[in-house]
Symmetry: T
Subunit: 69 residues, 12 copies
């Protein structure tokens, strides 16, 4: 609980299902290489339209993780 330092990275998850799933996709990808992830914050929600319907949801999140001491 002492003077930790956190780093923030920004990822965009993509999903054909919806906004919450796009966030989960981004967190899951980050979890493959980053430890001690602590929080996320949604910064943008966009999407790609094809043939008049939503093809992909794209949600950009900031992810904060504790740096190793």
């Amino acid at each position: 609980m002492s003077d930790h330092v956190y780093k923030t990275i920004e990822l965009t998850g993509s999903s054909t299902t919806g906004t919450d799933d796009a966030v989960r996709v981004a967190i899951a990808r980050a979890a493959r290489t980053i430890r001690h992830m602590d929080w996320f914050q949604v910064v943008e929600t966009r999407g790609h339209i094809e043939e008049g319907a939503i093809a992909h949801w794209q949600v950009t999140v900031k992810i904060g993780f504790r740096m190793e001491d």
Copy 2:
């Protein structure tokens, strides 16, 4: 419909399910003590990560309700 006055409060709902549910949790809690609620607006979507996965979704909403005359 005449010169009403509305008050806005800011709540953060938390949910293990997703963003929409976090909003519902916040509105439901407010409904226990506030009458005449009229609208809400999402102001921030964050979450808590544990063991590399989303543990809680946290959505902050402004809620507007009509003040008693």
Copy 3:
């Protein structure tokens, strides 16, 4: 892929189901008259409360589409 021009319009979709569905409603309505839609961006998420519960989710999106040459 040459020097195309895109136009952006702003629509608000309404849904009793949730945020993602409100976006789909807006895109579907636009698809009835607009061709070559390419992307959308969520700019505001609000809703209407009745009897202490969410009656409608209202999501405002910007929609970009390629103009005819």
Copy 4:
């Protein structure tokens, strides 16, 4: 009251009288061709100065109207 879709347009009304009148001018012009207007939101208040005094007030509003089903 079901899943309606609203469109937003942005107009700038101009008036020699003041800010409220500039808004009314913009709404009145829109009313000549748009039906089902529902709300407006002021997004910018500017003006033109001539000879050291305000010559025109220019207020930009977003206007939302319900699209025909």
Copy 5:
């Protein structure tokens, strides 16, 4: 004049007359229950349109008041 603490609340006043009157309506309502009000700040100006004309002006203000020691 020493280390006072102020609280901010957010109200939306509604008026058929204009923006300044909508602010006055909000302040007047607040004055019925709050003492030591000190300042306000306009945060949003919207309105409701009926039959192609402005039916209500809705101005949201933050109001700051000194808390009792």
Copy 6:
């Protein structure tokens, strides 16, 4: 109409009457020492409350004027 340069200054006008008058007060004061004023833009609307009522409206404007060649 060639390559002119404009300077912007920021003033806050105060009035007991209302927002539009506070803008006029600021412009009138500026006109005493500045020539070639061309436009203004409202950047903040605040006010001072005394005894539960608005004592002063305070509107901050940016004012642009053409610099002498």
Copy 7:
């Protein structure tokens, strides 16, 4: 010079050359169908990267034009 009303639309011009050219492309396309254009404002500058180099500059502008009386 009397109480005119202006409408704002938002276009994104695309160019392989640079930012200024992308703005010109957007204005030129608008000029084919819109009369009385009066001003533009840049709201976003983005681009597409291919093979490690800029393939297209994409500049989004708001364009204001006077509505016919």
Copy 8:
């Protein structure tokens, strides 16, 4: 750790000492009546000048606290 709801209030602390102390003053005042306070966020730092020197630092904070179940 289940679906809690948090409320946010906005206070302005005042101090003759500095910015950090102004935050502490606001938190201390809130602690007299609010339980389960969890976080704060600085939203504005202002101050009052008298005789050419800083008389008071005024820091506005949002304070989040868990609502009783």
Copy 9:
């Protein structure tokens, strides 16, 4: 207390000590030539890093002062 006009200027104070001191440095410099200073607002906090440590804190403040009648 009548219809005063205030002017705002923007200064950046620099200090090797910390943020509060950088604000004091800016106010002190302004006090050498400006009378009737009334308030300040912090608009940006930056700094310069040398050899992996903070060499200067740079705080930008808006300063408001009453103009002579």
Copy 10:
């Protein structure tokens, strides 16, 4: 390198050529009366349209300069 104070002014340069040139025009005009200019920041890019083509580019910059000790 010790505790310097910088002042920021805001100018709008105009050019028939393009955005970069409009910035140069503003800096060149400022250089005629201001010494010790250190940096600039673009805050807005607009332009004037005549006969369906860009007549002037107007770029607003903040310019920072060191105040004399």
Copy 11:
């Protein structure tokens, strides 16, 4: 085209030539170590002034690239 994840980094390119070139410099530097770059977005345009003229243009861009699966 399935559920890709993109990462965003923020670089500042510097150039003595102009804004577009500063963007190219940043992209070119990134291309030396990053593959699958897809888009960029300008977030800030600043510059350094020496002897009353622009010495360097400094443009900050966010660059998005697809992460390896």
Copy 12:
């Protein structure tokens, strides 16, 4: 002084002492692995409250450093 490129990262320093110390903690941690750090900018100041008092100050900074040529 030629066409350098800078990279920006975002860290959150935590401290029980105050805001300036939280910034120093973040810079010190970054200095262990990053060379050529040049500037920082505060983007958010938050904190954690325990038992009605501030337990940790959390300041998020953007840090810019020159990339190796």
